[in-house]
Symmetry: C2
Subunit: 344 residues, 2 copies
């Protein structure tokens, strides 16, 4: 039986395939001229700084067979890392994949995982340049993404200034709502006896299973900023741990506060009613992988009127406290504690 | 109670410390100007190629409380990665650490793990530049090491040529013998009623718990090669998966064979008798993290007479087959199958 024929058996396990066979399979997802030695060699553009980020995703914590088929788990693992590159204003050069697998894991699961990773990487031409596989009791994926950025041009989170406009690159809450649907949780997104249509349900599930890392923003915003006049600072963070978390982290790092208008927060179309649950998911849901930017107000306004980008100003940077300023005049203070606490 | 006072409680668990507290602790092992944003920024020497390698180590597979205290587990995790950089002829720039931890893991264990990593990194001035922590059922450490090398100067494994001398940078088998001692396995390293002395036992255990990555060879050999005349090819691989594995991989990649003389294989001082067990550990034991080099014979001879390096010629590259040529004229064929098979 040929190697390819063996792999077509969907019941084949990792233990049956063996370590050498598994490595051969995984290498088929990598460029041949980069892998196969003790380490991978990459040739960056001369003079650029390196950007490095690592994320670990564990079965039952970040993904599960119930909510994320392997193709989606692979996509999400890559998206989480590329999102961090985007939040630094970097372009991607490659990723490494450290894979922990139980011996009874099916080879088919691994193939679909890698196909999902490859699908997420493809639009940006980013290769898988190396990795490692190891036996473990629980499936886990540790990805390190490598990127590059012009020296002194990285988008940091500690450079926001009072008066900056706060911009988001897209809607929030959709990923958490999609997870709720997959888990069969009660949804409170429509009023009265109305039901959430199937297409809206699909939209939310897609947002959970296939979030889009905003690397498309790196070049777009860079061109905008370079072309503009005056203050070209870009303060940025991704909203992987939630919108409120991103705003709080930027404010904490920059020593400033923020005032957010809940009425203008972009939400998925499926959110037809801003219930308490919906607002909670928008602020604390996490894993939408949008960018949160702080920019000089005129620059922010220009960017948000550029229709193709789909960005929205949601508030401004203030002297202190991170608050949600509601229409009735009350103010809700945002904090980090409601965000993800993976160990609690 | 201050943060430092809380950390001094050796019974404190990760769940009690919380994710933010854990991140604060781990950041204390990183340079302040590099970590704290979505990704780390590194400034390499202009014009160098990047070298990237990843290793995953899992509790019960690569380390355990029985054989490797957390300080040693951290050291070994780093050593495995730095060894891959050395095998490419690269110098190290930084590592990222993806940590999977059960909530009931003690903070003390994590502190000692990081102290072990820091101790292994210190001689080379390599910083921890980022990482991630995640809840999991099993402890695991996924490290990615980043290095740099002059373009076209990387030491590959596919460039060995017939007639090359095969050089090893140090002894093999010690790590496996140390593991045997820690596991209480029967040792067959001395003859008759002789006992292995305590100091020899300690030497072997040290080789298992604190293997030295051969980054010291990168500059040393580079200087030698640059200064020499004629053929300056360096073919290299580290022996992390065993000496036989390294030789077989080089031969497979280069399309050549090898003939090894067992009598000249350097072994730890504690190996007082070349039993079948001892030879097996020298060839297949693994995790000694020495370099296996193929060099033009005159260059190899020069290097091996340089006393400070401690290298030994163990054989030569031939047309085909990897064989151990024994004193009585018999030949033992080496193969990959006896090496590590993590999934079997």
């Amino acid at each position: 039986m040929t190697f390819t024929e063996r792999l077509s058996d969907s019941a084949l396990t990792i233990a049956e395939l063996g370590e050498q066979g598994l490595l051969r399979l995984l290498k088929s997802y990598c460029p041949v001229d980069v892998v196969g030695d003790d380490a991978a060699l990459l040739t960056p553009t001369p003079g650029q700084q390196w950007v490095v980020t690592t994320d670990v995703l564990v079965d039952g914590v970040h993904f599960s067979d119930r909510t994320t088929p392997p193709h989606s788990a692979g996509w999400r693992a890559v998206a989480a890392n590329l999102s961090d590159l985007a939040a630094m204003g970097a372009t991607g050069l490659g990723i490494t994949v450290g894979l922990s697998l139980p011996p009874d894991c099916s080879v088919d699961w691994v193939k679909q995982l890698y196909q999902g990773m490859a699908a997420c990487l493809a639009p940006y031409g980013i290769p898988i340049v190396g990795g490692d596989v190891c036996r473990a009791e629980q499936r886990a994926i540790a990805i390190t993404a490598l990127g590059q950025v012009e020296p002194q041009q990285a988008w940091r989170r500690d450079t926001a200034q009072v008066g900056d406009a706060i911009v988001v690159t897209g809607s929030h809450g959709g990923s958490r709502a999609g997870l709720a649907l997959l888990l069969g949780e009660q949804l409170d997104l429509v009023q009265g006896a109305e039901r959430l249509s199937q297409s809206f349900q699909d939209e939310l599930i897609l947002k959970h299973q296939y979030p889009r890392p905003r690397l498309d923003w790196v070049e777009g915003l860079r061109n905008f900023v370079t072309g503009g006049l005056g203050d070209r600072r870009v303060t940025a963070m991704d909203s992987s741990d939630g919108l409120a978390d991103a705003i709080c982290q930027i404010c904490h790092s920059s020593g400033v506060g923020a005032k957010i208008s809940p009425d203008v927060l972009p939400v998925p179309q499926a959110f037809k009613f801003m219930s308490h649950q919906a607002l909670n998911w928008v602020l604390y849901g996490g894993e939408d992988f949008e960018l949160v930017l702080c920019l000089e107000p005129k620059l922010a306004a220009q960017i948000c009127t550029a229709a193709s980008l789909g960005a929205v100003i949601i508030g401004e940077i203030t002297n202190s406290d991170v608050v949600l300023s509601q229409r009735d005049g009350t103010q809700l203070r945002l904090n980090l504690e409601s965000g993800f606490q993976h160990f609690s």
